[in-house]
């Protein structure tokens, strides 16, 4: 396969840009990153995203396909302008490369609530996004892919199309403007057609031609649901995940690391394990051991048989002690106060004040495919096959572990068996590289057991909230939130750069400080808890706990005001941001919300604005002989233009299900410094019989494009809690809800 060879021969070029990235500067930022695709004779790489050769057209969608359909949506953005049929092109992920930077990662980090941003602020964000190229931000996450690719990929397609037309124009001796394109062909004025593939060689000699983007009224793909390019593979067992990579002479390995996370290994005795069937080598990887052998199950058995003395964890040993330490953060000064409207300290005459404390537990990502990577150390460099959300970071980490230069490492990104933020991390890459280094020349697939995966996560941080609010005349007049949690952002900065992260952490308070409700006295203070437990980015990140805190408390305020919780929210949203108000109106209408429910039925509502998208949800629960079942859900969202409505609906429901699963059952607890949950029976999720029926409506009135992958998660937890309150009169301020209610399992 030509493309495989091209990628292998050219990773040097893609990676050279990363080395340059360290020397950060204005010149470098604005210079185009090197095209990682280096065509051979007869092939034309028109830009880093489009390549044509005699066999046809290949598009590069260098975003992690973890279920969100990005491979298809990204290719559709290019194909829309390139005039190719999606079923006729080959779509590949491509190598790790600076050219594949994510321009939307940085713009979302700008200060400000988001929903009230001006055109200027939006454009500033777009401009700043280019810095991502110099920071090795080739990655997928933060619900950014469509925001990132919407203009850039259409431009890539349009430019490629016009360059191909230029080659045809020169061949035919006509002006380019006389030519048309359709389904991978150039159409001459006399109606004859030339396949793009036939023009590859001539196109390769031309400089890229710039082109205007088409008017949306001409679109064939965008705004319409496309058959997903990964669907046949995923319905036949032929889609390749990292765990499915098979190479000649491949060995299988597993890992067992200190369950006291961050602690080292004092000593180990592998004398019994060494002679077990299928075992070929047992390797010291620093904070644990890896077993290499002939069969994954056999090496898992052997890993369990190794006797290991572990060092202690650098954090308090029990859940209670950890939360006591989180609570201590409230004694210090806030890391941020990102919203401080009005005067929350002043007494409000005639107002009714309420206070409440909330907690949210640590959570695991629990992807269906456990952490897995294959690696092979050769004489010229290192090959890695894995499902990563951050290929360039993975390349740098693999290089540093192996003592190589980045350009000597090739990252092959497979499909991801779930991501949810877990595969932003690099630990599974590091482990696989250490294993490969123990047997140079031999490809080894390192698969974590489910237990190892669940107990060695970068967890969603546990969080605590102290909330105060007031209502007067049926309206909220005060909301004053204090939230304490560990900072995944600060930890990630330290893990990646080696330097402690600092500064105000917007992610810690997102989903609380920036909610689109008009409340005159509105403050949110974030406190960073100093706990040395590994935490990371769990689908919707800070919104995942702040959404629960804010929207449960809004319900408490509504009840304190004697108001219907949906009408109460709607009034406050209408005065702040009409886009959010429309989502609430939509779920009200979809669900036939009356504020009253029959005996044995409860309904709750919540709305969270996150990643640029407001999402309102109504959830209905039913009491069936004392057991409570989630019966129905209604979702209304508005991310502006929805590139693929089917995918958006799937993400909205999936995001909600991920949140509901956590709200019902999810908690990671600690004893003796070790995670107490081992496998799905201890950390379950909603299943076929416990999943609600759902209706999703996608509104498209938002001025700026919002995300789809995460915004469905935050409102699900409070909507369910509020429904349970409606049903039972019992207000749960702690998750998971199975501690308080008898939920159907």
């Amino acid at each position: 396969m030509g493309i495989g060879k091209i990628l292998r021969r050219t990773f040097l070029i893609g990676s050279a840009a990363i080395v340059g990235g360290v020397a950060f500067g204005a010149y470098y930022v604005t210079r185009p990153a090197a095209n990682p695709l280096k065509p051979r004779d007869g092939e034309a790489a028109l830009n880093p995203f489009v390549m044509i050769d005699q066999n046809g057209v290949t598009l590069f969608a260098p975003r992690a396909e973890m279920g969100q359909g990005v491979k298809t949506s990204w290719a559709a953005l290019i194909a829309e302008e390139l005039d190719v049929d999606l079923e006729q092109v080959n779509v590949l992920h491509g190598p790790a490369a600076a050219a594949y930077y994510n321009s939307a990662f940085l713009s979302d980090g700008l200060p400000g609530k988001g929903y009230d941003k001006s055109e200027f602020q939006h454009n500033l964000g777009e401009a700043l996004g280019v810095i991502g190229k110099s920071l090795s931000l080739h990655g997928t996450g933060g619900s950014t892919s469509m925001k990132d690719g919407f203009i850039r990929m259409r431009e890539a397609g349009a430019s490629a199309r016009e360059t191909i037309k230029q080659a045809a124009a020169e061949r035919l001796g006509v002006d380019r403007s006389q030519l048309k394109t359709e389904a991978g062909h150039v159409i001459a004025p006399d109606g004859t057609t030339i396949p793009y593939a036939e023009l590859a060689e001539a196109t390769a000699t031309l400089d890229p031609v710039e082109a205007e983007l088409r008017d949306p009224s001409e679109w064939r793909y965008l705004g319409r649901s496309q058959p997903r390019l990964d669907m046949v593979g995923k319905s036949t067992g032929t889609a390749e995940f990292a765990i499915d990579v098979r190479l000649p002479g491949m060995k299988f390995a597993t890992v067992r690391r200190n369950p006291k996370l961050g602690g080292g290994m004092k000593s180990f005795d592998d004398s019994g394990a060494k002679s077990m069937p299928g075992v070929e080598k047992i390797v010291d990887i620093g904070d644990g051991i890896a077993v290499i052998g002939t069969n994954t199950w056999l090496v898992i058995q052997a890993a369990e048989a190794v006797e290991i003395k572990w060092e202690d964890a650098p954090y308090p040993p029990t859940t209670d002690a950890i939360f006591a330490k989180i609570a201590k953060a409230f004694d210090g000064s806030p890391n941020s106060t990102m919203r401080d409207d009005g005067d929350v300290e002043a007494a409000i005459e005639g107002a009714t004040e309420i206070t409440a404390d909330y907690t949210a537990p640590y959570l695991a990502h629990s992807t269906m495919e456990p952490m897995t990577a294959a690696a092979q150390l050769g004489s010229n460099g290192l090959q890695v096959w894995t499902g990563t959300q951050m290929p360039l970071f993975a390349q740098m980490r693999a290089a540093s572990v192996a003592g190589l230069e980045s350009e000597q490492v090739e990252i092959n990104t497979t499909y991801l068996g779930g991501g949810f933020g877990r595969r932003l991390e690099l630990d599974f890459v590091e482990v696989a590289v250490k294993v490969a280094m123990a047997v140079p020349g031999t490809p080894v697939l390192t698969t974590w057991s489910r237990e190892e995966d669940m107990r060695h996560d970068y967890f969603r941080p546990g969080a605590m909230a102290r909330l105060r609010g007031a209502v007067k005349g049926g309206k909220a007049v005060l909301i004053d939130g204090h939230v304490a949690a560990q900072s995944p952002v600060q930890q990630a900065v330290e893990r990646i750069t080696g330097m402690a992260g600092g500064g105000p952490d917007k992610v810690l308070v997102e989903g609380f400080f920036n909610q689109p409700y008009a409340i005159p006295n509105y403050r949110m203070s974030g406190y960073v808890a100093d706990v040395k437990l590994p935490v990371g980015f769990w689908r919707s990140v800070g919104n995942s706990y702040n959404g629960f805190f804010h929207e449960t408390f809004m319900d408490e305020l509504a009840h304190a005001a004697g108001r219907d919780p949906l009408a109460f929210r709607l009034e406050h949203a209408r005065d702040e941001w009409d886009v959010a108000a429309r989502c609430l109106e939509k779920v009200r209408d979809m669900s036939g919300w009356t504020g009253k429910t029959p005996d044995g039925v409860g309904r709750g509502v919540a709305m969270t604005y996150s990643f640029g998208t407001p999402v309102a949800q109504v959830i209905e629960v039913v009491d069936e002989n004392g057991t409570i079942r989630i019966n129905k859900a209604w979702i209304a969202c508005d991310m502006g233009l929805a590139i693929d409505p089917h995918v958006v609906k799937a993400q909205m429901f999936g995001g909600m299900m991920y949140g509901l699963s956590a709200a019902c059952f999810g908690e990671i607890t600690f004893d003796g410094g070790e995670v107490e949950q081992w496998n799905f029976p201890d950390y379950d999720a909603l299943r076929m019989h416990t999943a609600p029926q759902v209706e999703v409506e996608v509104l498209e009135t938002n001025r700026f494009m919002g995300g789809a992958g995460e915004p469905g998660t935050p409102p699900s937890m409070p909507a369910l809690g509020n429904a349970l309150f409606d049903l039972t009169g019992n207000r749960a301020r702690t998750l998971p809800l199975s501690h308080t209610f008898d939920l159907l399992i």
Binding site: M66, G67, Q68, G69, S225, P227, R228, D230, M231, V232, G233, K234, S235, T236, G237, T238, E240, F241, I243, R246, F252, P277, G278, T294, N295, T296, W297, L298, I300, S366, T367, M368, E369, P370, Y415, G417, G418, G419, F420, R450, H646, A650, F653, G654, G655, M656, M657, Y658, N679, F680, P681, A685, L686, R687, M688, H689, T690, A691, Q693, V694
Partner: protein, 154 residues
């Protein structure tokens, strides 16, 4: 000790201890990677295959307990020659990350073999052992109903 297995109609000789679960025989020995590892404790259904036509969790089926022909997702149909149930999966655009879907399809195929017109309650009963973290359940349900209709018409 060599064991003889019939997998998707082909005979395979495998030389592994007889407590090795069928899942790991398929994946690491025979090279059939469509059957997935999710939990190793029969709690997620990702490893579901058929033995003698019945759905079993291959992660909890030691080699010594394989007492009949095995069918995996690769034996149900291929991209070039899709089975009816796979066509229904594709038409309903079921998969998201896709990791659990081999197991979901194998479980659903066994349900349809026993019950040509399953109700929603039948689907709840049959499918509740198969975990999906992406939340594809509504489309799995729709695809099973569609497949039932297609099979009846065939």
């Amino acid at each position: 000790m060599a064991t003889t297995l019939t997998i998707n109609g082909k005979t395979h000789q495998v030389d592994l201890p007889d407590d090795v679960p069928l899942l790991w025989v398929l994946r690491d020995e025979v090279g059939l990677t469509g059957t997935k590892f999710g939990c190793g404790v029969a709690a997620c259904g990702a490893c579901t295959v058929h033995i003698n036509g019945e759905a079993v969790r291959s992660c909890q089926t030691p080699l010594s307990d394989v007492d009949g022909p095995v069918t995996t997702i690769e034996g149900v149909g291929t991209p070039e020659s899709l089975a009816t149930i796979q066509q229904a999966w594709i038409e309903n655009q079921v998969a998201q990350c896709g990791y659990c879907q081999s197991g979901q399809i194998m479980q659903a195929a066994s349900l349809l073999a026993e019950n040509s017109a399953p109700t929603d309650a039948d689907i709840d009963d049959a499918m509740q052992g198969n975990l999906c973290r992406c939340g594809t359940y509504p489309r799995i349900r729709a695809a099973i109903h569609d497949a039932a209709t297609k099979l009846k018409e065939a």
